[in-house]
Amino acid sequence: MTGSILFLLIIVLGGIAWFFGRVKANRFAANSTKRGEVHSLPNYHGWYVALWAIGPALLFLIIWNIASPALITDAALTSPAAEQLPQDPFARGAILAEARSIASGQQVQAFNPLSTSMVEPYKTAISYYRTIGMVAAVLLVFACGVFAWLRLKPELRARTKIERITMMTLLFASLIATITTVGIFASLIFESARFFSMVSPIDFLFGTEWNPKAVAGPRGETGFGAIPLFWGTVFIGAIIAMIVAIPLGLMSAIYLTQYAAPSFRAWMKPILEVLAGVPTVVYGYFAALTVAPALRDFAVSIGISSASSESALAAGVVMGIMIIPFVSSMADDSIAAVPSAMRDGSLAMGATKSETIKKVLIPAALPGVVGGVLLAVSRAIGETMIVVMAAGLAANMTANPFSSVTTVTTQIVQLLTGDQEFDSPKTLAAFALGLVLFIVTLLLNLIALRVVKKYREAYE
């Protein structure tokens, strides 16, 4: 909590610095005799002083926060209580970590009595270094603020300097997306590499038995064959969901663009879009509560006694419903991109509307529609909550839609919730699955965008 108070204090001091800078610049402006003698507006002088006051202090605090834990540990180790600590680095580290979290209030009770004795030295060290940091930060605010204030003079190019800093901030902000992409890739690769050092990639990618719970030893693991998961993902996301979403989405788009009266279109389009805005956890609950039991009863009534209450069909159908607006809007765009001359030509030859649509518009719009479907598939296979709640956990390789299958995303959730040990292949397998999912969705998106782009160019 003291951290945020310190932060607020620095911001308030920055505001005061801004005020003083502005006042001084206003005085130049009042005293100036000829036009253009003061280079920048008073506001920029204010910002100049404020940034000088805040910037170095915040930078110092960040560095201090990174550096101080090591200093605190060193200080705590010089205390007399530290002499009782075991020499074994692992046990020592565990005790120190525990003592530190008790001292900083994250933990209440110690498991190891030795850590209780270390709490007091830690507390003194923490408060000692925290005070040093706070005092230094506040001094830095004053020193830098006064330095900048003294540098203010009419010909100071404050605006140019401020604009240069703003420009750097803009550039940095736009770099965050790239950093995130790199971060995703790096963290997935890094954890997957650890996984593949324990389990061979061949076994993982082409093995047919998925049973991570049965795995016991650190070497010679089996039960990490991901083929059943890939099949389940494709079965639900790319087959069942698409069987629902493509006809419904495509026909909706055709009706709305070609037949519907404008007022009907104005009402129905937002209503369809609501389907895309419903949170996936709601769909998942709907699938598990309503759709799955109904489908099981139906399957039993037509004589499939093995029907599971967590069926691939329930998850796939509901996922298909979720994807409808996505397919529909992609199809809408690509049909709209077909030049009207083609449509008019066909109608002028005496073809009916539906003949024009089937023989001219759809074939011409096909690449765009295919691109849209690929994007929809990439979204469906990355979808998590519906399959977690409705698809089940049994890794079956079956084409029976009434039986239970499992998917990549379900297994990621399953592996990472519950007790986590970060060295076991069980936890790391989730990152390997995530890597596969990331690469596949990335490829699907790239291909789809390329197809759509090429097709757009063909008509431009």
Binding site: P247, L289, I412
Partner: protein
Amino acid sequence: MNSTTAFAEERNPTDWQGDAMQKRIRKRYAAERRFKALGLGAIILSAGFLAFLLIVMVGNGLRGFTQTELPVEIDFPAMTGGASASQFEGANAAANLRTLGVRDIVNTSVEIQYGEQGTELFSAGGWQAVSAEILNDPEIVETKTTLYLPAESEIDVAYKGDGSASAEERVAELEDQLSTGFNWNFLSNSDATDPMQVGIWGALKGSLITMFITLIIAFPIGVLSALYLEEYAPKNRFTDLIEVSINNLAAVPSIIFGLLGLAVFLNLFGLPRSAALVGGLTLALMTMPVIVISGRNAVKAVPPSIREAALGIGASQMQVVFHHVLPLALPGILTGTIIGMARALGETAPLLMIGMRAFIATPPSGIVEPATVLPVQIFLWSDEVNRGFVEKTSAAIIVLLLFLLTMNALAIYLRNRFETRW
């Protein structure tokens, strides 16, 4: 001339009125009608799914806002040995209440009225309602009052018409005493093991804190990158890379962001598990590309004449952007931001990855405290075996959908009200 007439005479002109032709045209028109009906059917089916989903959720969920109650007559003067109302006013009220032993008073009153097994008819935490009532109106401790307390979960479900056979029997016995009241607990409590005592306030507060963190991180970064990419970025390899990564991030499955949050924020930076801070950071990375993309479109829509006019009267490049382009593009950016935030509010999977699925019975009071959010709470309740949770889950879904609806309506309003067509 001759040849064309000869040609025309050789061929029979199409007999449009002939049977065969009429039949063919009828067939084509029938196909046309079938195709049109198919299209309409697809739309009606899609909208029907939506309607069905909403009806199921509202039908189940509305019952979650009510609770079944049983009257309990509490003779406070006899039970407390003459406590006075003034004890429960002012600063010492809570402490005095604790020494009073409300729980025992309620249990004894229940046993007097409903027999030895009477307490089994009531929700275990029901006595807390009596404490709240005393704090609210201390006068009642000097009188003999009848209070309505929540019944036990099975009775509640059975009274609402969906219970097991044994519970139905007990309901039939109590029929004339049971009544229905509004379930205030549901709006003010947090997670609990007893479905009669659960509430959404803890999850809602967690959601609000998480959304706040998402907003203060994703909005500035998103707006600044949109401005950079549209107004300043030179066309080169480097900006192409930024552009590709933004478009790519918008299409990455949300669970991957959860893996990133787990590997980087939790394991690398050592931030606390289950905290709203980590959830907000993870969702911010997910929301930012949405804001950048909508922001770029909004900035692009500002006509160049505005920029040229500002440059013409001597504004610097930075002043043009921050004084003129940004304010004009702001409604569009805000619309995109609200839509992105609505998506983040409904997101579950990445938050499961960073440990926000723990049982948390107190609302979070800070950004580093264990918290849960509304969609995760829905997921957790949906896993409960107790039938009392079905209606609570649906009720929580209604609350979530109401929030999303409000946000989307706000986005549409902003778009219509402030967006200028140039």
